[in-house]
Structures are given as C-alpha cells and as structure tokens.
Amino acid sequence: MPVRTPAEAGVPPETPPGIRMPEHHQHPPKHGFDPVAGLLAILLPGLGHIARGEKKRGLLAGFAVLAMFFGGMLIGGIDVIDSREDKWWFYGQALVGPIALAINHVHQTEFKAFGVAHETDASGRIVYHTTERLLRGPHRLRSVFPGETRKIADVEIRDANDNVRETRRLPVAAPAGPGEGPPNVKSLAKVNEIGTLYALCAGMLNLIVILDAMFPTLNRRKGGGK
C-alpha cells in the first residue's frame, strides 16, 4: 500500500505525521465584523442575528434571554432590577439592553420613595421635612415597606438651624391608611436571590449573543438550519 504524505491526505503540513486533527481544527471558523447587527443585538436580544438572516438562532437566543429576564421578575418581582440597592448585580442585568434600563427607571421613579421624617402640626396637617444631608444618607430614595404607602408630598428642606430653606414635591414613604399599602412587595431571601440570578444570567448570556452578532462566524449555515 503506497504511503501518502500529509499533504496528499489532506492534513495541514504543521500537523505531525500520523496524527489526524479534528475537522474544526483543520478548518478553524472565520469571523467577520458586523457593527449594524451588533447594534441591533444591543437594542433587542436576538435582533442582530435575525437581521443577519439567521432567524432561527436569533429567535431562540432572544426568547431564552428575555424568558430568563422576565422569569427573574416573575419570581422576585420588580425589586430584582434595582440599580440603587443592588448596584453590582444591575451592571450585569443591564447587558439585556434598553429593556433593563427602562424597567430600572420605572422602578426608581414610580415605586420608590424618600424615607423622610414627618410630624403633625397644630392644624392636624402632616408635615414632611428633611435636610440636604439626610436626603443623601438616611432619608434617601428607598423601597416602600409594609405599613407604608407612597405619596407625592411637599417636603420642607430645612437647614442646620431647623429653618425651612425650600419646599420640594417628592415621593415620600408615608404611613399607610385603611386600604393603602406599598406599590410593590419587596422580595426577600432566596426568592430575591434566584430572581436576581435569573436576570443577571440573562444579561451575561446576552453579552455572548451581542458578541456573536457583532463578530459572526462566517462559515456556518445561514438561516439557522432547519
């Protein structure tokens, strides 16, 4: 039987004689650069692949990323998307794209309130008051707890001598009256951890999806197969 050289056998010349490299090592995938697909992938998970003609890949990746993100919210509520109280987790979740940023914005502006002090004046009116320093610290924007409700109220910003410097309309955490309650229930313990983890995994996986759309593998099947 004639002995064939590596070149005759279709093996790259750098491969040692007698060793047959796997197919994907013989022909490593080539990568391109598609900034438009990358941008579309950032806007909506999977949209970059759909725009490139890989519809099935895009739909499956987008579905899985969004199912993870909204699954996390279903488990832990809107509380799991929180750039103030869970800052480091949110950095990962934000990789899901504008959807995560919009939900965080709604959470911060429509559900949270300042935990300012209040007292009842001589006429029976509840007066909310704080200082600039306390607004940045103990009286900062926070979740509304059970037994409280969220109200938009005039808050007196006082100086160190307790003189009213200005009045601002702010969302405040006020004592709940009959039939009132917080706008959302804060999730705790494992339910909060699992919900946060779901949304974080969605962001991390979407980073892979964005990178694959931006730097696509060129020699794989277009259209995402059957």
Binding site: A61, M68, P183, V191, I194, Y198, D212, R221
Partner: protein, 82 residues
C-alpha cells in the same frame, strides 16, 4: 401567605411565594442558559435541541455534584477534622 398580599399580587411587580421550592427554579434556569448559549454556538441548527438538552443536563448534574460535595464536606468531613 398573608391573604391580603395574595389578593394584591401583581405579576412581574410582586414576588411569588416560592421560598420552599426555590431549588427547583434552578432547572428552568439551566435549560434557558443552555438554550441561549447553544443558539449561538452550534454550527448546525439541526443539532440544536440535542446539544441544548445535553448542556442543560451537564449544568444540572454539576449543581447536584456541588450540592453532594458540600454535604459531604460540611456534614462528615469537617466534624471529623475539627
């Protein structure tokens, strides 16, 4: 659960009361991670669901393995050492 809270439940806003079964939620998470990852990794989409099932099973087995390892270390190994 507090009946008042149950009545006020709003999906995606309020949390579900799944404290007793939280560990089962790792299974759908593993499946979704495998779905997203394999959607961009498999060269031929004909292999997609097979590869996804295999990867999800590997993740779940890995988690179960870590659980068993932690159980052995905490319940049997550490009491012997300390």
């Amino acid at each position: 659960m507090n009946p008042g809270l149950l009545l006020a439940y709003t999906p995606l806003i309020d949390p579900l009361n799944l404290h007793a079964v939280w560990f089962w939620l790792l299974i759908p998470l593993a499946v979704l991670i495998a779905m997203a990852y394999k959607a961009v990794r498999v060269p031929d989409m004909a292999l997609y669901w097979r590869q996804t099932a295999l990867f999800a099973a590997q993740i779940i087995l890995g988690i179960v393995g870590l659980y068993v390892f932690s159980l052995v270390v905490l319940n049997w190994l550490l009491p012997v050492i300390v």
